[in-house]
């Protein structure tokens, strides 16, 4: 057994145990780790934002750039400054401007991108090709998948009563959904256990030196 003499390994080990103590119940050790975590991460986030976003996207083009279009950046700065309106009761509504721009930009992006990235890809993946029917087993499997896709979509059909054929299809859709959720769940269990093994290795190997 070779207990680590590195103080940083000790700190990491103590924090690891402090987080795990949460599984028993809330306690001062967890609270300590939680508050330290939040403080560190928000400081880290501020530094990342400053150096990865503000400096390259705002400061560098404005201070060192030569392109005349760089002055357009003053517009988002102005919009961004409006969000400080929330510090005043009278002008708190100014925040609606940055919100309106962000949401408009998002909505504009998402419409064409959703078609390209989600819908087309899913449709072309579902339509059976020759390769997908190469053997009877493959053909049956892909047919089952096709039924899975269609019945699931009917479950998300909102504007009609789920009765008759639509009702039966939506009901089948729920069964398919549950089977799929189960598969995802089962698939993830082992991956999560391996995370724990990783932490245990740190504690027992890096820190306490019990295992090699």
């Amino acid at each position: 057994m070779h207990i680590s003499t590195n103080p940083w390994v000790w700190i990491a080990a103590i924090l690891t145990l402090a987080i795990y103590s949460f599984l028993y119940k809330d306690n001062p050790f967890y609270k300590f780790a939680e508050h330290l975590f939040m403080g560190l991460s928000i400081g880290y986030g501020a530094v990342v934002l400053w150096y990865n976003s503000i400096i390259p996207r705002l400061w560098n083009p404005l201070a060192h750039g030569t392109s005349p279009s760089r002055f357009y950046l003053l517009i988002p700065i102005a919009i961004g400054l409006l969000s400080f309106g929330i510090f005043s009761k009278k002008y708190s509504w100014l925040i609606k401007y940055p919100l309106a721009f962000s949401v408009g930009a998002y909505a504009g992006f998402s419409i064409p991108v959703t078609f390209e990235a989600s819908i087309f890809e899913q449709i072309s993946g579902t339509i059976l090709t020759k390769q997908m029917m190469a053997t009877p087993w493959l053909a049956i499997s892909n047919l089952i998948m096709f039924v899975g896709v269609i019945t699931t979509i009917t479950y998300f059909y909102f504007s009609k009563h789920h009765k008759g054929l639509l009702g039966k299809s939506a009901r089948t859709g729920i069964v398919f959904l549950m089977l799929a959720f189960g598969a995802s769940f089962g698939y993830t269990v082992m991956a999560r256990i391996s995370l724990l093994i990783g932490r245990m290795q740190f504690l027992l190997h890096d820190w306490l030196g019990i295992i090699k």
């Binding site: 990491a12 080990a13 609270k31 939680e34 508050h35 330290l36 975590f37 403080g39 560190l40 928000i42 400081g43 880290y44 501020a46 530094v47 150096y51 357009y72 988002p76 700065i77 961004g80 400054l81 969000s83 400080f84 929330i86 609606k96 940055p98 309106a100 721009f101 962000s102 949401v103 408009g104 930009a105 998002y106 504009g108 998402s110 419409i111 064409p112 989600s118 899913q122 579902t126 499997s141 892909n142 998948m145 039924v147 899975g148 896709v149 699931t152 979509i153 998300f156 729920i174 089977l179 799929a180 189960g182 598969a183 769940f185 089962g186 698939y187 269990v189 999560r192 995370l195 990783g198």
Partner: protein, 211 residues
């Protein structure tokens, strides 16, 4: 007008312009999407300050009123100042806060990373407790979930192969066929729902975010 109509007009105009420019590569339209992203990140930077302000004030209140557990707020401030100051110092010393030898990255690797991975690893316990409850199948739907979960779980470990040598094959069939179909259905639904919502946003029908 200033509080409602103009924000709605901003959403409408921004949305429509960005949809149209998706199809026009010609300058200046072709780069508008990229510009909008830059604008968004600049605006995000300003609101991030609001977020930091909110959290810092939350803890300040706790400290000032000596609320229960107030001294943990000191830990919060300590952590915040530690990473923020080392970030600035590292930038000055190395010209880059993310330099591998900087104290900023040292704190990141030795304190923040273990905290993150331990928090993440809590999932091993939670997935066990969630499984326990899911496995007491409450109704027929939960039973379906249970069946595939157990098969896939066993099919991915050696014990599964020992129980029945075809279990790994069945597992991959479940993952590639039974799982993929409904997941595609969910994605198509979400995609159409997203487009419908985006249209409602641009048209000003959906306006909760402006209240």
């Amino acid at each position: 007008m200033l509080k409602k109509q103009i924000p709605l007009a901003i959403t409408f105009i921004t949305g429509v312009i960005i949809v149209i420019t998706f199809f026009i590569p010609h300058p200046p339209f072709g780069r508008l999407q990229q510009d909008a992203l830059t604008w968004y990140s600049v605006i995000f930077g300003f609101t991030m300050l609001l977020g930091v302000d909110s959290l810092v004030r939350f803890h300040y209140r706790k400290l000032r009123r000596r609320e229960k557990g107030w001294w943990f707020s000191i830990i919060f401030y300590g952590g915040f100042l530690l990473s923020f100051i080392t970030g600035v110092v590292s930038e000055v010393r190395f010209g880059d806060a993310f330099n591998i030898n900087s104290s900023f990255m040292y704190f990141y690797n030795t304190i923040l990373i273990p905290l993150q991975s331990t928090m993440f690893a809590l999932l091993a316990f939670f997935i066990a407790s969630a499984s326990y409850r899911a496995f007491r199948a409450r109704n027929i739907d939960a039973t379906f979930l249970l069946v595939t979960a157990v098969i896939v779980m066993l099919g991915r470990v050696p014990v599964g192969y020992m129980l029945w040598h075809k279990l790994p094959n069945l597992t991959s069939w479940i993952l590639n066929v039974l799982q993929l179909g409904p997941m595609r259905g969910i994605m198509i639904g979400i995609a159409l729902g997203t487009v419908a919502m985006s249209l409602r946003l641009i048209l000003g029908i959906e306006r909760t975010y402006l209240s």
